[in-house]
């Protein structure tokens, strides 16, 4: 019992109580100002030391990081180039898909014909002739004379065929003549191409009242084209007193310079009326 209250034990007990008291005061937050006051210089010193260390470390490791950054930069530039080329590829595919969707919509909207889609792979060498070359030929069932259209309207007709390609004469060619019908005026007429690709309207009766913007559709006469295919609009008209017919200029709805895909009407049978022509 005497040992229990020995001076050593009492001292340990006092220390324990002091430590417990300090802990209780610290936990309850009473010592926070004292801690702040005492730790603040330490933190400042630690911060200063750390900054100096980082500065010295950066100074020695800087060249190595430059090389790494350069390598990363090159790698990223390569990735950017690759992604950009991928974007261009995808945009190209998207544009092609949009054209094909439009052609598909046209084919669905006009179910009376059978269509074969073809890609335009070239143009006629001579600027005096308006022809395009497509990637479908006799192997795909393409025959001479088949009409060619897009979702916008009439393009022309197949002029020459080989196994895997065909040449299409555009309606803007100088040797092309298409029989048309003026939708509003309800008269038959002809459109003729030219060496520069402009289309003129001919054989319009003098008494026909043709307005600018009147729509032209194929009439089906002559048996070269099916009827009611959109051709274009009247751009201007000229009427001379001494002539039998009115003439005019036609704006085709199809942009022949930017044709990339077309539809060939495969179930249309061309009627050859040449033996009947005297």
């Amino acid at each position: 019992m005497r040992n229990l209250f020995s001076s050593t034990n009492l001292r340990n007990l006092v220390i324990l109580l002091v430590v417990a008291g300090i802990l209780i005061l610290a936990i309850s937050g009473y010592l926070t100002p004292i801690f702040n006051l005492s730790f603040s210089p330490l933190i400042s010193a630690q911060s200063w030391l750390s900054q100096r260390y980082l500065a010295i470390r950066d100074f020695f490791t800087y060249p190595r990081d430059m090389a790494t950054l350069r390598a990363q930069n090159v790698q990223l530039e390569n990735e950017v180039s690759m992604l950009q080329s991928k974007i261009v590829e995808l945009q190209e595919s998207l544009s092609q898909a949009q054209i094909l969707y439009a052609l598909l919509d046209f084919a669905r909207a006009n179910p009376e014909h059978d269509y074969l889609a073809a890609t335009v792979i070239g143009r006629e060498i001579s600027p005096y002739y308006q022809y395009i070359i497509i990637d479908k030929g006799s192997n795909d069932g393409v025959l001479h004379g088949m009409p060619v259209v897009t979702q916008q309207g009439l393009v022309g007709r197949v002029d020459a065929v080989i196994a895997n390609a065909a040449r299409v004469q555009l309606i803007s060619d100088a040797n092309s003549v298409v029989n048309v019908r003026l939708q509003n005026a309800k008269v038959e007429a002809q459109i003729r191409g030219s060496i520069t690709g402009e289309i003129s309207l001919e054989m319009v009766p003098q008494d026909a009242e043709v307005q600018i913007g009147d729509v032209l559709l194929t009439s089906g006469l002559g048996g070269n084209y099916p009827p009611n295919i959109f051709v274009g609009q009247v751009l201007s008209m000229q009427s001379q007193k001494n002539s039998l017919f009115q003439t005019g200029a036609v704006q085709s709805i199809v942009d022949f310079s930017n044709l990339s895909a077309v539809l060939i009407i495969t179930n249309f049978e061309v009627v050859d009326i040449s033996p009947l022509i005297p």
């Binding site: 005096y128 100088a174 060496i195």
Partner: protein, 167 residues
């Protein structure tokens, strides 16, 4: 043998470029004819005895592909070839000048033949319009492309003929 192979490959590549790209790039209504330029430059840089057979074959191929009469490219290319042979000896110091002369007169001749054929066929056209919108732009485009085509052909087919050599 490599010479003929290279010539045929160059011809095919030029033809693809012509049909796929050059013919689509129009100025007013005219377009360049790189086939003619290739024949002119190639004729200036070789001296094989049987080269005219190749030119004849090329002319026939182009004539078959083109919607126009097949004899127009045939005649034009042969004429350009023989004119190049003459020029190589007469204006040997400046092959580029020969190229320009061949291009200018070759284009004029070819366009003139086309117009003549269209006129014979009864196709109505205004000569002024054809001259302004097709012929002149075509000549201009051909003259512009003559320099790069000549340079390229010169690199592909280093001249075999000693300059100023007798015919």
């Amino acid at each position: 043998m490599p010479f003929y192979l290279l010539t045929i490959i160059s011809f095919i590549v030029t033809l693809m470029l012509q049909i796929g790209i050059v013919s689509r790039a129009v100025l007013l209504a005219g377009s360049a004819d790189v086939m003619l330029l290739f024949i002119a430059a190639w004729s200036l840089h070789q001296d094989r005895k049987n080269a005219w057979i190749l030119v004849l074959a090329f002319g026939f191929i182009i004539g078959s592909i083109s919607a126009g009469p097949f004899f127009i490219p045939l005649i034009t290319y042969m004429l350009v070839f023989f004119a190049a042979k003459l020029m190589h000896h007469q204006i040997w110091r400046t092959p580029l000048l020969s190229m320009f002369l061949l291009t200018f007169f070759g284009t004029l001749f070819q366009n003139g033949l086309h117009l003549l054929v269209l006129w014979v066929q009864g196709v109505g056209f205004s000569f002024t319009e054809a001259f302004t919108n097709i012929l002149l732009p075509s000549v201009l485009l051909n003259m512009l492309l003559a320099i790069p085509v000549h340079a390229l052909v010169q690199e592909l087919f280093p001249s075999e003929l000693p300059v100023g050599a007798p015919l």
